[in-house]
């Protein structure tokens, strides 16, 4: 798990199992394994892409990191200190360092607050900027994210989807965080707007030395923006490697199938119908035994249904969770 630099954030053995309750007395009948043993770290200034299909747990991991959700067990270390040990005061400071951007531009902004109020609220809560300078700061932030300062008194419903995402980004940025968890930040936007927002995120990272945890189901976008990519399946990381490596020479059979399924906008390459993954993604409630992927894996062996593979370093900085690699 070690990067050459000291990691900014470390996630260690994160598990999040939620009980499924039924009946009049809310008896627990099963557990949903949203996150089933996730560990990784992220260095300052890098972008870690979390990619996977529905039920893989990527969003839950992101939410746990910003403490919107509590894990069942596990540690999240910010600069070495476990965030779950933080008292109220330290937690507040923590929020200045780690922020989140949500997927839906239409419901992630309070419809009854002006744009300016939304962006200035974090600064007011944490008292990072004296009252008389807040307006200036807001104008600067608007500028940074490509919004016009005339729009400060507008309400969210007057902005387009892309502009609202810019507002969310400005809000996250207002506290000068070290890490931003971006949960599907461009998935709800039109293609031409996606490019604008992705470019914006790249620029901001360069200017502010931000780290991103970029969560998305869209491999094309993740492939573009990340330094390293983690492929998740049913709550576990199947493969974690630097971007180029994992996209050109994936080692895990799931990653291979995933990449083969992604359509490329190039009609000159013949349409390959090879290595298609059969079947459906199993439910995260009582997941398959052993390796979660064994039910669909083209090369699965007996061992795979019994023992859960550990994420280990196979090549330099390239981690794979598979018995057969």
């Amino acid at each position: 798990m070690k990067n050459k630099l000291k990691p900014l954030l470390t996630v260690k053995d994160l598990y999040m199992h939620f009980p499924i309750r039924r009946g009049l007395f809310q008896k627990t009948v099963a557990h949903g394994h949203a996150v089933d043993g996730v560990s990784f770290d992220i260095a300052s200034g890098e972008t870690l892409g979390l990619v996977g299909e529905s039920g893989c747990g990527k969003t839950t991991v992101g939410r746990i990191i910003v403490r919107l959700q509590e894990p069942t067990t596990g540690k999240v270390l910010l600069e070495g200190k476990n965030v779950f040990d933080f008292n109220k005061k330290k937690l507040k400071t923590f929020k200045r360092n780690v922020q989140i951007i949500f997927q839906d531009p239409y419901s992630s902004l309070n419809p009854r607050m002006t744009a300016g109020a939304i962006v200035s609220e974090p600064m007011i809560i944490h008292n990072t900027v004296p009252r008389n300078e807040i307006n200036n700061e807001v104008k600067k932030l608007f500028d940074r994210v490509g919004l016009h300062s005339e729009q400060i008194d507008r309400y969210p419903h007057e902005f387009s989807g892309g502009q609202r995402q810019r507002l969310s980004i400005a809000r996250a940025l207002s506290l000068n965080p070290k890490l931003i968890v971006a949960d599907e930040p461009v998935s709800a936007l039109d293609v031409s707007i996606q490019a604008q927002v992705v470019n914006l995120l790249t620029d901001l990272q360069r200017d502010f030395q931000l780290s991103y945890i970029f969560i998305s189901h869209d491999i094309n976008v993740v492939g573009y923006i990340s330094t390293r990519i983690a492929v998740m399946y049913l709550g576990q990381i199947m493969e974690l490697a630097p971007r180029r490596k994992i996209l050109t020479t994936p080692l895990h059979p799931y990653t291979e199938s995933l990449l083969n399924s992604v359509p490329i906008p190039n009609p000159n390459i013949g349409y390959k119908r090879i290595k298609r993954l059969k079947g459906e993604v199993p439910s995260s409630i009582n997941p398959p035994s052993g390796c979660p992927f064994h039910t669909r894996c083209p090369i699965a062996e007996k061992k795979c249904s019994i023992e859960k593979p550990i994420l280990r370093e196979i090549q330099n900085n390239h981690f794979v969770a598979c018995h057969l690699r």
Partner: protein
């Protein structure tokens, strides 16, 4: 591999104009839309939100909600007759029978309180004069065709018991039961996971090969278009801006919008060196609302090649080559 060998179009849309009246007044969702669909081909209609692609698709089967929406002008010719002039009876005989449609959200397109079997056999019994037993057999055949494991058991299940991918297969099965000449697929894979999307697209292509259905594929995903369509129509703000064979459009886009769209896609086949990230080409601005009054080319406010002429005059279609046309004055100056 020219699937459209027969030069007579099976569906022909001419000068279609659909307006919506609402609180903010009246506006045209699509204006002067014309294109043809040839037998056995896959035609993609691609564009971003608000471009009118779904409105176009709904118009074909006259599914536009009135009184808010109205097909004001135009002609939709199918098998030599104008669909817009059909009486109710003919329309019922058309829908689900000769022209079928599948939608994005399979859960809301399937009736949650009826079994799969019931919903499917209903289609057959309504359109064809066969017994329930015959309908059941045909249904099982179709379910096998769409690769549902254990079709007999599936008939007894309810939609909520199936996964998204399964439900979409059922939708496809339902649409193809009466062997329609045309299948309209409105964002059929957008709500599905990537691996399931690939399965469904494979399926659609396989079935097309077997049954010879012509497909109109509505999508915003340019990659899906590249892999599945023969020809493509690009729409922007209610108008067609470019049309042609997929290979030609992608290799040689002749409209600034198409060009910008293709350039702004992050892609896996274009990995560059990590440290020097090449910026995605941005198209500034946003898609205009249909209520804003427009003169000249609708794309002018965002166009990098805009001239004074573009702001005043609406560009007519120019033939770039055989089967490739574009609505742009500056089409020769792209790239």
């Amino acid at each position: 591999m020219n699937k459209a060998s027969n030069k007579q179009p099976i569906l022909s849309i001419k000068n279609l104009r659909v307006i919506f009246s609402g609180e903010f007044g009246e506006a045209a969702a699509i204006n002067d839309v014309s294109f043809d669909l040839f037998p056995k081909e896959t035609l993609a209609v691609v564009g971003e939100s608000g471009c009118g692609k779904t409105v176009t698709a709904l118009s074909i089967l006259r599914l536009i909600q009135s009184p808010q929406g109205k097909i004001e002008k135009g002609l939709i010719e199918f098998e030599g007759k104008n669909i817009l002039k059909f009486d109710t009876r003919s329309l019922y005989r058309l829908r689900g029978n000769k022209i079928s449609m599948i939608f994005q959200e399979p859960m809301t397109s399937l009736n949650p309180v009826l079994t799969i079997g019931r919903q499917l056999t209903e289609v057959l019994i309504f359109h064809q004069n066969i017994t329930e037993k015959e309908a059941k057999n045909k249904t099982i055949e179709m379910l096998q065709l769409v690769q549902i494991p254990d079709p007999k058991n599936c008939l007894k299940q309810y939609p909520h018991q199936l996964s998204g991918g399964m439900r979409q297969r059922i939708m496809i099965a339902m649409a193809l039961l009466c062997d329609p000449k045309v299948l309209i697929a409105d964002e059929p894979t957008t709500a599905l996971d990537v691996t399931i999307q690939a399965q469904i697209l494979d399926l659609m292509l396989e079935i097309q090969e077997k049954l010879g259905t012509a497909i109109i594929l509505i999508t915003h995903d340019l990659a899906v278009v590249a892999n599945t369509a023969d020809r493509v129509v690009v729409m922007y703000a209610g108008k067609i801006v470019e049309e042609g064979k997929v290979k030609e459009i992608y290799n040689n886009p002749r409209h600034p919008y198409t060009h910008g769209l293709l350039k702004s896609l992050p892609r896996l086949d274009n990995l560059n060196e990590n440290n020097k990230k090449i910026r995605l080409t941005e198209m500034p601005g946003i898609v205009p609302s249909i209520y804003t009054k427009r003169i000249g080319c609708t794309f002018a406010p965002r166009c990098p090649l805009v001239t004074e002429r573009c702001r005043i005059e609406e560009p007519p279609f120019k033939s770039v080559s055989n089967e490739h046309r574009t609505a742009c004055f500056e089409w020769e100056n792209i790239n």
